[in-house]
C-alpha cells in the first residue's frame, strides 16, 4: 500500500472566494491525496505554521483578490523563517501573465490560471510531492 500524499490548501489574504480552492481540494481528494484545508482569510504565517505541524508534502495557495504578488512570496518567506524552505508551494487564481515570472522567481513551483485543466494541476501536485 502506498502512503497518501499530504497537501495543504490555503487561502491567504482577505478574499473570501473559496470555490476554486475547494474545487482543487476535492479534485485532489478524488485522486487519493489527503488534503488539509485551512479555510479563508489566513495569514502567511498561519499557513506556514500549519503546513509544518501537518507535515505536508506540498502547499497549494489560492488568491482571487489580485494580491498574489505580495501574499504568495510571503508564505515562502514564512516557511524559510521556520526552517521549512523545502516544502514546495504552488499557486492558482486570477493571475495575469505578466506576474508569472515574478512569482516563479520568488520560488513558487508552479502557477495555475483560470482554465488550467484539473488533470494538469493534479499532475503538478504529484510531481511536487515526489521531489
Amino acid at each position: 500500500m502506498t502512503t497518501p500524499y499530504r497537501v495543504l490548501i490555503g487561502k491567504p489574504g482577505l478574499d473570501g472566494h473559496d470555490r476554486g480552492a475547494k474545487f482543487i481540494a476535492r479534485a485532489l481528494r478524488d485522486e487519493g491525496f489527503e488534503v488539509i484545508y485551512t479555510g479563508i482569510r489566513r495569514t502567511a504565517a498561519e499557513i506556514a505554521a500549519t503546513a509544518i505541524q501537518e507535515d505536508v508534502d506540498v502547499i497549494g495557495l489560492s488568491s482571487l483578490s489580485g494580491a498574489h504578488l505580495r501574499l504568495f512570496p510571503e508564505v515562502i518567506k514564512e516557511l524559510k523563517a521556520r526552517g521549512a524552505a523545502d516544502i514546495p508551494v504552488l499557486g492558482g487564481g486570477v493571475i495575469p501573465d505578466e506576474d508569472m515570472e515574478a512569482l516563479l522567481a520568488a520560488g513558487m513551483k508552479a502557477i495555475f490560471t483560470p482554465g488550467t485543466p484539473a488533470a494538469t494541476i493534479i499532475k503538478s501536485f504529484s510531481d511536487a510531492c515526489e521531489q
Partner: protein, 310 residues
C-alpha cells in the same frame, strides 16, 4: 523532504520543535523503519502524566468548535495542548479532505497548541495504533492535555475514543434519530455528555433526556456529567473543564484511569500486531494470485500456516 534521523527527531520533540514533532508523527503513521526507535525514545513520565480526552459526536454537533474553545481555556490555564483530529478517508479514492482545523485556526500561531489532522485511511486496524502513537509523541513534547476528536459513528471510532482517559460526547438539539441510534453505543462509554448549541430550541429537553441516562453515573461520582455549552461563544467551557479535572482526580483515586490505560495499551498492541503482520500477508496474498481455495476463512488459515515466522 529532508531525511531526519530518529535521534534528531527525538531531540526535536523534547525541544518542542514543531517540524520534528510533525515529521515524527508521519514516520509513525506511515510505519516507516524508524518508527520503533522514535517510540522507544519518548519520555514515559510525560506520557504517563498527560491527560487524554476523547471528543466525539455526530457531524455538525460542534466538536471542532468545542475543541477550539477548550483549547482557549486550557491555554489560559497555562497548559500545553495537543489535538488529534480524525476524519474519514474516501473509500473509493483513499483521499480525504481534513477540515477540522478551520475552526481551530485562531491557535495556529500558538507554539503550545499542536494540531495534527489524521485520515482514517480505510484501515480496519492501524488507526488506533497511529492515533495512540501520535498522542504519545505529543505528550513527550510536553503536552499536558491531548484531545482526540473523531466523528462518533462506527466501531473503529469507538475503538479510538477508548484510547482516551475521559470520553466526552457532544450533542446538539435537532439531531433526533441520530441520537436515538447512538444511545446503545457511544452513550454507554461516554463519561460526559455536552449539550452544545444550548441557545437553540430543544436544548433543555435534550439535556433532561440525557440526564436520565446519566443519572447513575452522576450519583456514583458526585460530579455533574451532563453539561451545557455554547462553544461558539465560549459559554459553559470553564465549568466543563473544572468538571473534567474533578473527574480526572476521581478516576485517579479509584484506579479507573490505570485500568483504562491498561485496556488502551492492549487494544493498541493488538492493532500494532495487525499493522506489523499486514505487509507479510499482503505479500503472501499476491503470491497466491490464482487461489485453489475459494473459501476465505480456510484460505486464511492455509496462508497463515504456510507463512514463515519471524
Amino acid at each position: 523532504m529532508p531525511v531526519n534521523s530518529s535521534h534528531t527527531l527525538l531531540t526535536g520533540i523534547t525541544k518542542q520543535d514543531p517540524r520534528a514533532i510533525g515529521r515524527a508523527i508521519s514516520v509513525v503513521e506511515n510505519n516507516l523503519s524508524d518508527a520503533a526507535e522514535i517510540l522507544a525514545g519518548l519520555d514515559p513520565k510525560r506520557i504517563e502524566n498527560a491527560l487524554v480526552l476523547g471528543i466525539t459526536g455526530p457531524p455538525g454537533a460542534g466538536k471542532s468548535t468545542l475543541t477550539s474553545s477548550l483549547i482557549s481555556e486550557l491555554r489560559r490555564r497555562n497548559k500545553r495542548v495537543g489535538i488529534v483530529a480524525i476524519d474519514p478517508s474516501s473509500p473509493i479514492s483513499g483521499g480525504a479532505v481534513l477540515g477540522d482545523r478551520i475552526r481551530m485556526m485562531e491557535h495556529a500561531l500558538d507554539k503550545d497548541v499542536v494540531v495534527r489532522s489524521m485520515a482514517t485511511r480505510g484501515r480496519l486496524g492501524g488507526l488506533c495504533a497511529s492515533a495512540g502513537a501520535t498522542v504519545r509523541i505529543m505528550a513527550a513534547s510536553g503536552c499536558d492535555v491531548i484531545l482526540i476528536e473523531t466523528v462518533g459513528v462506527g466501531q473503529s471510532e469507538m475503538d479510538i475514543i477508548r484510547l482516551a482517559d475521559i470520553t466526552i460526547m457532544v450533542l446538539a438539539p435537532g439531531f433526533g434519530d441520530d441520537i436515538q441510534a447512538m444511545k446503545a453505543g457511544l452513550l454507554e462509554v461516554a463519561d460526559f455528555l455536552v449539550v452544545n448549541k444550548y441557545d437553540l430550541p430543544g436544548a433543555d429537553a435534550l439535556r433532561m433526556e440525557m440526564q436520565q441516562i446519566f443519572v447513575q453515573k452522576e450519583e456514583e461520582s458526585n460530579i455533574p456529567r451532563v453539561l451545557e455549552t455554547i462553544a461558539s461563544e465560549n459559554s459553559g467551557i470553564k465549568k466543563l473543564i473544572d468538571s473534567l479535572h474533578s473527574f480526572e482526580a476521581y478516576i485517579e483515586t479509584n484506579s479507573i484511569k490505570t485500568k483504562r490505560r491498561h485496556e488502551a495499551l492492549d487494544s493498541e498492541t493488538l492493532d500494532w500486531i495487525f499493522e506489523i503482520l499486514r505487509p507479510r500477508f499482503t505479500e503472501q496474498l499476491k503470491k497466491d494470485s490464482n487461489p485453489q481455495q475459494t473459501d476465505p476463512r480456510i484460505r486464511a488459515q492455509q496462508l497463515i500456516a504456510n507463512t514463515p515466522n519471524g
